[in-house]
């Protein structure tokens, strides 16, 4: 990193700097250009470790003490060491030391693992070409410009530009499973003209500086041949082999290293994600501040009172307690200051180190339960849930807004070709096996309506389906050796024979980045057009028995902005054809109007039925047109700057004036239990927003199917369609609509805020990307914030919001908008694809679905689950429990330390403010570490105040804890008052007892340590039993730790007081505990105080009874009855046909 910056600084201002120049094989290029000495690039060493042996201690300690809490404890410790304080430094030093050591060991171990992994990668043997001969080297020795040889199934040691492949067609196959989880084989291409004779190749590569985007690469290669102008070739992501990817189906390749070590795209991508912090953590910090204030004011009060007290005659220095010479010499103000520090130290236990440790442990251990939950296990992908961060467990119980992607999340992304429409005639596929035979000749059986389009059009349509895609045929893996040949033979053979049984082909399988494409290719296959594969730029189609060959000239790639893709192919007869498929909105403007009308109806009908529609168009290119397009495309591809924009411009130019052939409808089935999940979420008071890039109609029907919109839901639309009505300016109409909807949802339903149940009209809000842009970026600034507010208010009053036609970035914008709105609600994003990553990262909690669109979403998420249906349990059961657990943990921790320290504070009033500790040092140290830590940890891991099943059945329970209900100020004040009450009771209760002359029946008297021990015993028993009262779910572990802790306390005290400890200078507690037990009065007072402390705790739940567990049981019965009444739910058809009730739509 540093070196890079250094390089940049030194690398010369004149030559920097959007690109780097690489000399292939380190050969200087001939003549024409002056040889610029290659700048130093970083080596290929991967360093993911943070520490070395030498810097581990200082660096790790520095890192740890950067945490405010640790620093605070360090300060306290230092004060104890430097100043003469009441408690020994051990009391705070030991816990701090323990925490620091444990953390350091954990981090050290993790770093050791990283070192090991790094070494494995760095010492991996690779072959580097030197003078034409491969030489073995360690991976870390690779330099930029080296030519590296990689064999099949090896991973690339750095980012390489593919120069030569052992395959005939100058391609190689690669899987990026370890990078983004996409296990399909991706084709990469060699740079033209470099494939042979690498030894004599003299070329430079100019490419952009390293950047983390895995799918972007721009570069240019200059090839110098003797006596010729240097040839220039464009380089794109298809030429770049990424470090971490694996070579497949290719014997070996040669490539030149362009990015090495920490500059590879993989390394750049694994630099830490930004840390998300949970609301609970913020609450803890707020509470900490309060307690810090309490601490400071306590110390201040005591210091002041101390000097007031000492002003009384005779009390400054009574004869029995003479000051030492040093004390007499010390400056008064310095004395005051050290007194203040001493009081701070005495009371510092009010903010315990152990809380941080316990919270961390709770989060870390607690998160295992998600991974362990077998309900999250999906037998299909053989995986359960994945927890990427344990910091946000409790946030799952606080979600107010769920933003969900549609495709792959609400729906299965398991596409099935349903029907198509050619020239306005509908074709529906009925049965595959019976009608397959007769189908090449006549398409009769396929046609639902007996009318048909001409067979030429049909064939054209099917050819378009077969050609216009980027699907690959999965090569058989049966022959690991000589695979290439085998594959070729197979294909060749089939071509020669001209007859391939259909069954093996079905099995053959296709690989594509989008499941739509596979569905379409398979769809075409059913109609008799089988895509055979792409071989050296030639696409083969098996049309019944004939093989048709097309030369693939250009692929105009799909991107989410254009929402279409095209291919340009040349037929055998020499015609150049462009096939284009894409969303209707992006195709319709580019075809003839009269064709549109015939198709539009079908498209819209299919869309309302919840199908994904694509339109297919084609165009014959004349030779000139093609020349022009070819030139444009090549130029744009060579551009180093703004390549994307230039390409898009050329694409737009080429894809015009097409003629529409037809449309396809692909069904994307709903995820299992999608509707139930959504219903449960809404029942839990969570607002569900669907953010999708899909068409409004499709998305709307999915919403109906998921029961996000009910039949009586009134839909408010803010889309281009409604905006363009009545021929007015869009801006005016936007303003008008916003006001109208706002009136409807916010002003006219004042009830909506108080109760949303009875007779209230549900509203659903639909907005599309274009309208959203208008809302967010209105022409005038004053309007923007106004519109934003209106928009938000409308949204917040609707039960469900659908945002369609969203670009990935817009999704994140929406999330951000809601996240930063009033009350800063907790947001959750759930998605499965790369396009959801931005919103997953933006939301408070990001959830990835282990879906079919690769693993990027999972990689960037905080939690990953196999299916959408798991979200219900994750939020309603796990989230709810985690929140309750940690909230209770936090409150309990503050409480128990308040009532721990309060008696010590009160004691100062009785000991002349001399900072005399009430408790022995052992008790001070062990209180938080041993005596009271385990029960709360067990509680915070195991508590189920309401059973999981009940939580799942009654979604409304989720809203009970909404808005951080258990960590707001009222409960905090309640706990604080409880702590104060207990503290007062402990201290004064024992004080009244000590009014007695003698406690044991032998007339002897107790000293100050007995006093402290009695208070401490009452304290330990009370806080432990208080937790026992709060525990609603007693497993054997709870029993063990609660009773075990108490027993441990008693045994420890007996042991601690039972021995003269050789290493202690003062045997203060010797036999104090045992002596205490010998007094009946002490027993009685302890029982009394414990009971009196807990009395309010016992009474309170009784007085609150009416909505206690019985009501809950009743609810459960009701809900189970409800479940019986609606048996339709599980076995319902996946799409309800009754929903497209257009009349509900407000326009």
């Amino acid at each position: 990193m540093l070196r890079r910056i250094f390089n940049r600084l030194l690398g010369g201002d004149e030559r920097r700097v959007d690109s780097r120049t690489i000399y292939i094989g380190h050969r200087s290029c001939p003549a024409s250009e002056a040889f610029i000495p290659p700048p130093k690039f970083c080596d290929n060493r991967i360093v993911s470790s943070k520490y070395t042996i030498w810097n581990f201690l200082p660096k790790n300690l520095f890192e740890q003490f950067r945490r405010i809490a640790n620093f605070y404890f360090l300060i306290i410790f230092l004060v104890q060491v430097i100043v003469d304080t009441p408690t020994s430094p051990v009391t705070s030093g030991l816990p701090l030391f323990f925490v620091i050591i444990v953390t350091a060991i954990k981090q050290g171990y993790e770093d050791w693992l990283r070192h090991k992994a790094d070494n494995e990668v760095n010492k991996y043997p690779v072959k580097v070409l030197e003078d034409g001969k491969p030489v073995d080297k360690d991976s870390e020795k690779i330099k930029v410009g080296d030519v590296v040889e990689v064999k099949e199934n090896e991973t690339f040691p750095c980012d390489l530009i593919l120069l030569q492949s052992s395959r005939d067609d100058n391609t190689c196959f690669v899987t990026t499973a370890s990078l983004d989880g996409e296990s399909n084989h991706k084709t990469h291409y060699t740079v033209p003209d470099t494939e042979k004779d690498l030894d004599s190749l003299s070329a430079t590569i100019e490419c952009e500086q390293p950047q983390p985007d895995l799918y972007k690469f721009v570069g240019r290669m200059h090839i110098y041949k003797s006596n010729q102008e240097p040839a220039v070739r464009s380089l794109g992501p298809e030429n770049l082999l990424l470090k971490g990817a694996t070579l497949k189906n290719t014997q070996k390749i040669l490539g030149v290293a362009v990015y090495t070590g920490m500059e590879t795209k993989m390394a750049l991508n694994y630099q830490g994600k930004s840390q998300k912090r949970s609301v609970v953590e913020k609450s803890i910090n707020a509470f900490l501040l309060v307690y810090l204030c309490i601490l400071l004011s306590k110390a201040l009060v005591c210091t002041t009172l101390k000097y007031v007290f000492q002003n009384k005659p005779g009390q400054d220095e009574p004869w029995y307690n003479e000051k030492t010479q040093r004390e007499k010499d010390t400056n008064l103000y310095l004395k005051m200051f050290t007194d203040f520090l001493s009081f701070m130290v005495l009371f510092n236990f009010i903010i315990p180190v152990s809380m941080y440790v316990t919270v961390e442990m709770q989060k870390f251990l607690g998160s295992f339960f998600i991974g362990w939950d077998k309900d999250f296990y999906d037998p299909e992908i053989k995986e359960g849930a994945l927890v990427n961060t344990s910091d946000l467990n409790e946030e799952l119980g606080q979600v107010e807004y769920v933003f969900t992607d549609k495709t792959g999340t609400l729906t299965q992304n398991n596409m099935e070709f349903i029907e198509c429409c050619i020239d306005g005639f509908q074709y529906k596929y009925h049965d595959s096996s019976s009608e397959l035979d007769g189908f090449g000749v006549t398409y009769g059986p396929m046609s639902k309506l007996q009318q048909k389009a001409g067979w030429e059009r049909e064939e054209l349509f099917l050819r378009a389906l077969c050609l216009c895609h980027t699907v690959q045929v999965k090569e058989s893996t049966e022959q690991p050796q000589g695979q290439e040949d085998g594959q070729k033979n197979q294909v060749d053979g089939s071509v020669l024979d001209g007859e391939v049984p259909s069954a093996p082909q079905e099995e053959k399988g296709f690989i594509a980045s989008s499941p739509d494409e596979i569905a379409l290719v398979k769809g075409a296959m059913r109609y008799g057009f089988t895509f055979m594969g792409l071989e050296s730029k030639t696409m083969k189609i098996l049309n019944k028995n004939d093989v048709e060959m097309y030369e693939l000239l250009h692929v105009l790639n799909f991107d989410p902005v254009r929402r279409r893709m095209s291919v340009i192919v040349r037929t055998r007869s020499g015609d150049t054809l462009l096939f284009c498929k894409g969303a209707d909105s992006s195709i319709f403007p580019r075809v003839k109007l009269e064709e549109v009308e015939r198709i539009r109806m079908h498209v819209e009908r299919s869309a309302t039925e919840g199908y994904r529609t694509l339109c297919v168009a084609y165009k014959c290119l004349s030779a000139e047109e093609y020349e022009h397009a070819d030139k444009g495309l090549k130029e744009a591809r060579l551009a180093l700057q703004d390549r994307e924009e230039k390409l898009t411009a050329v694409y737009n130019q080429v894809e015009t004036g097409m003629s529409l052939i037809g449309a396809t409808a692909v069904e994307d089935r709903l995820q299992e239990e999608a509707a139930e999940t959504m219903e449960a979420l809404q029942g839990a008071g969570i607002k569900v927003w669907v953010l999708t890039g899909d068409k409004m109609e499709t998305a709307k029907s999915t919403c109906y199917a998921c029961r996000l919109f009910q039949r009586n839901t009134e839909l408010l639309e803010l889309t281009v369609r409604t905006l363009e009505e009545r021929g007015r300016r869009r801006e005016d109409r936007l303003h008008e609509l916003l006001l109208e909807y706002h009136k409807k949802t916010v002003q006219d339903s004042p009830l909506a805020k108080t109760s949303w149940s009875v007779g209230n009209q549900d509203y659903g809000f639909i907005v599309d990307g274009a309208s959203l842009t208008m809302v967010l970026n209105s022409s005038s600034d004053s309007n923007t914030s106004h519109y934003k507010n209106l928009f938000l208010q409308i949204c917040q009053n609707c039960t469900a919001v659908l945002c369609c036609r969203m670009a990935p970035l817009q999704k994140a914008q929406i999330v951000k908008l809601v996240k930063n709105s009033k009350g800063s609600p907790i947001t959750l994003s759930i998605g499965d694809g790369a396009n959801d990553v931005s919103m997953i990262l933006e939301a408070h909690v990001g959830i990835g679905i282990k879906g079919k669109e690769g693993r990027q979403a999972v990689r960037n998420s905080d939690y990953a689950i196999p299916k959408l249906k798991h979200l219900k349990k994750l939020l309603l059961a796990h989230g709810h429990l985690y929140y309750v657990r940690i909230a209770h943990l936090v409150q309990y921790f503050f409480y128990k330390n308040l009532c721990f320290i309060l008696p010590q504070f009160l004691y100062q009033f009785f000991c002349g403010y001399s900072q005399q500790p009430l408790y022995d040092a052992a008790y001070l140290t062990m209180y938080n570490i041993c005596f009271t830590s385990m029960p709360i940890l067990a509680y915070s891991l195991l508590e189920q105040h309401i059973g999981m099943e009940v939580l799942l059945c009654n979604a409304t329970l989720y809203s009970d804890i909404a808005k951080n209900a258990m960590l707001r100020w009222p409960p905090f004040i309640y706990w604080t008052l409880l702590g104060v009450y207990h503290g007062l009771l402990f201290f004064f209760g024992v004080r009244l007892l000590f009014g007695n002359l003698a406690l044991p029946d032998n007339g002897q008297v107790f000293g100050n340590w007995s006093y402290g021990t009695i208070v401490f015993t009452v304290l330990v028993f009370t806080v432990t039993l208080k937790l026992a009262l709060d525990t609603r779910h007693w497993t054997w572990i709870n029993h063990f730790v609660i009773w075990g802790s108490l027993a441990f306390y008693v045994l420890f005290s007996l042991f601690w007081g039972g021995i003269i400890w050789p290493f202690l200078s003062q045997q203060r507690l010797y036999f104090v505990f045992a002596n205490m037990l010998s007094s009946v009065s002490t027993w009685l007072v302890m029982i009394l105080l414990v009971l009196l402390s807990l009395l309010p705790e016992i009474l309170l739940p009784v007085l609150r009874k009416p909505r206690g567990p019985h009501a809950r049981q009743k609810k459960m019965v009701e809900s189970s009855e409800g479940g019986l009444q609606s048996p339709r739910s599980p076995a319902r058809p996946l799409l309800m046909r009754t929903f497209s009730d257009e009349s509900n739509t407000v326009i």
């Binding site: 005779g314 077998k374 002349g912 005399q916 195991l942 007892l993 002359l997 009395l1095 009784v1102 567990p1109």
Partner: protein
């Protein structure tokens, strides 16, 4: 780095623990449990309370302040610090038999034995008889480590130095004649203090162990001569010393001085007139302190303490009242379990 996805069967374990389905007892504090529970607890508490109160009532306590603040009081003459070896006598009357065994305490008020620095000002190793610490006492003893001649003080420190040194002789006046009441000075300190925690150096005679050391500044006699009547009760295991060394928790405290268990007084102090002769050495007026003697007898609950009995009675009755209130509330609004 890259998280390897396990391709093997990684189905989560189906155990009760991992699935959070451990068998659990789910107690619910319902009215059905709480009302009878409260009644029971309440009754038990009332019972204990009554027992405590009755016991406490039967315990006799007599306190006599002898500081001598008032000019009329017998010990006023001794409050002048210039007078040494001052003795004063207080007479008092016991109306009815003060049942034995009677415990004789001395009490100090506004005396902060729980000052932090005061409390730390002793050397535990020295007090456990370790001769190494006789020559160089611990620094905590400051300012009573060494005297002006740089000789180590044994026992060092403020606590030892400020040991209570008034002494008392109790006599019963029978027909004008004094009969000295025998006072038992054994067993007034904790058994463990006497036998384990504090040890004399194992050198006989004990005096030799203190060679080269000086007595605490305020002490009239060195540690090995604390009890002139009983040679075994000297050094660090002197009972009065041990009682003093156990610091009191609060600024108003009492410490056991003697027990009256012997002779005619084994059954208690009979009714009659008594005189208490006080050797007044200990100054307390400089810090507005008070001194007193207390006679008390004890029961199974220790000394007299009304608080405990009253508290038990109050809380016991509170529990009963609460349960009655709850019963009424629930009778009115029905038990939620039953509908």
């Amino acid at each position: 780095m890259v998280k390897e996805e396990l391709s093997t069967e990684n189905r989560p374990d189906n155990t009760a623990f991992t699935q959070q389905r451990l068998p659990a007892w789910q107690p619910i504090l319902s009215a059905g449990i709480i009302i009878p529970g409260f009644v029971l607890i309440g009754l038990a508490f009332i019972g204990i309370g009554v027992a405590l109160l009755v016991t406490s009532q039967s315990i006799q306590v007599m306190e006599i302040d002898y500081t001598g603040v008032d000019q009329g009081s017998p010990c006023f003459k001794c409050t002048d610090s210039t007078v040494s070896n001052c003795k004063c006598e207080i007479e008092f009357t016991i109306d009815k038999l003060f049942e034995g065994p009677v415990f004789f305490y001395y009490g100090l008020s506004n005396y902060f034995q729980n000052y932090r620095k005061y409390g730390a000002s002793k050397d535990a190793s020295q007090l456990s008889g370790d001769l190494d610490y006789f020559t160089s006492p611990a620094t905590e003893c400051d300012p009573y480590i060494k005297d002006n001649n740089d000789k180590p003080i044994v026992p060092c420190g403020s606590i030892a130095n400020s040991m209570f040194n008034d002494s008392f002789v109790l006599s019963r006046l029978i027909n004008g004649a004094k009969e000295v009441v025998p006072l038992d000075g054994k067993g007034i300190s904790w058994w463990t203090d006497y036998n384990v925690k504090y040890r004399n150096p194992s050198i006989t005679p004990l005096k030799n162990a203190f060679n080269g050391t000086v007595k605490p500044i305020n002490w009239p006699r060195p540690a090995y001569e604390l009890d002139t009547s009983d040679p075994a009760n000297n050094g660090f295991i002197n009972q009065d010393f041990l009682v003093w060394m156990r610091r009191a928790a609060l600024p108003n405290f009492r410490k056991l001085y003697r027990r009256i268990t012997e002779g005619n007084y084994a059954d208690g102090l009979p009714a009659g007139d008594y005189s208490l002769e006080i050797t007044y050495n200990y100054p307390v007026l400089s810090f507005d302190g008070r001194k007193k003697v207390v006679f008390s007898n004890v029961s199974w609950m220790g000394g007299k303490n009304e608080f405990l009995g009253i508290a038990y009675l109050v809380i016991g009755s509170l529990c009963v009242i609460m349960s009655i209130v709850m019963l009424i509330v629930y009778a009115k609004f029905k038990f939620p379990d039953e509908d």
